[in-house]
Symmetry: C2
Subunit: 175 residues, 2 copies
């Protein structure tokens, strides 16, 4: 096991600015391309990350700390941002993500003040008992997952353009 709260916060606090540097003011082709019907483009991934900040990580952490194993926390709709009709530009979303992530890291620091709390448990609606440190680890791994997704989706735009180098670039052949 490698989990460490401070090291987790290091990643959580870097992700929004990393994505802002990479994705701001790009040609629209880069941020609207996807991997085919039903898949997300970079803009939609940022919307999903914002939605996670609003409804998943901190709300679930608060729920766990308040209710323990007495009640499963509410299920999280991973696709709610797709149904949201109030679309903002990716630049606006990147600013919003940075703002809400910053607020949530402050909440995380105020909620977790002792290592003992990291082993407290709650009940996931599908998985059953889960620990606070597993939720926070997942928050971090979820950032990595979606940075990877964004770069993979964008890479595939050049899948044919690279010509014979395609065989060297495993990313172009991954789902």
């Amino acid at each position: 096991m490698n989990f460490n709260l401070n090291e987790s916060i290091e990643i959580l606090e870097r992700t929004p600015q990393t994505l802002a540097v990479f994705l701001s003011n790009l040609s629209s082709e880069w941020v609207t391309c996807n991997e085919g019907q039903g898949t997300w483009n970079a803009t939609e991934v940022i919307e999903h990350l914002i939605e996670g900040e609003r409804t998943n990580w901190i709300p679930r952490l608060e729920f766990m700390l308040q209710k323990g194993e007495s009640k499963p926390f509410p299920a999280f709709n991973r696709f709610s941002h797709i149904d949201d009709s109030t679309k903002m530009s990716i630049e606006q979303n990147l600013i919003e993500f940075k703002k809400i992530r910053h607020e949530n890291i402050e909440k995380l620091k105020s909620l977790i003040t002792s290592d003992v709390q990291l082993d407290l448990t709650g009940v996931h609606p599908e998985f059953g008992p889960v620990k606070v440190k597993e939720l926070i680890s997942t928050w971090v791994a979820h950032d990595f997952t979606h940075i990877t997704q964004i770069t993979r989706v964008m890479a595939k735009r050049y899948r044919e353009d690279v010509g014979p180098w395609k065989g060297y670039l495993g990313i172009l052949n991954k789902g």
Copy 2:
């Protein structure tokens, strides 16, 4: 085909700062972890990116423009940075990457002044004839590949820590 020179430059010029924001001043555990023996940590990936700037992309482009198909360009040792004993910190490497990438984008802009040049060809020592635009597309896709690699390697540190969420996070199970 999606290749566009200006859109390619947009990515090439963002990669160093993106990685600098994500990787600077992290706990050493994040930048020294790898996927097992013979695999690269984040620090080694940055060294590899610098090596590519020095010996691969622009040198090959210049070779293609000068020699055409008259002579294959020299093979590129993708592991030379591993043998280099003059190790710098990841922060030093990130600064060096930004500097050399900036210089190389300036060279790219000065070398390619007409769309006609994008279809010029050279000879890859393994693949045979390749086009200038394929080389530049590969340079871009190579950036995406290694951003993905870095995030995947770092994500795997928390492979067990996420507990039952592991099944939701495909990145943790990828090679």
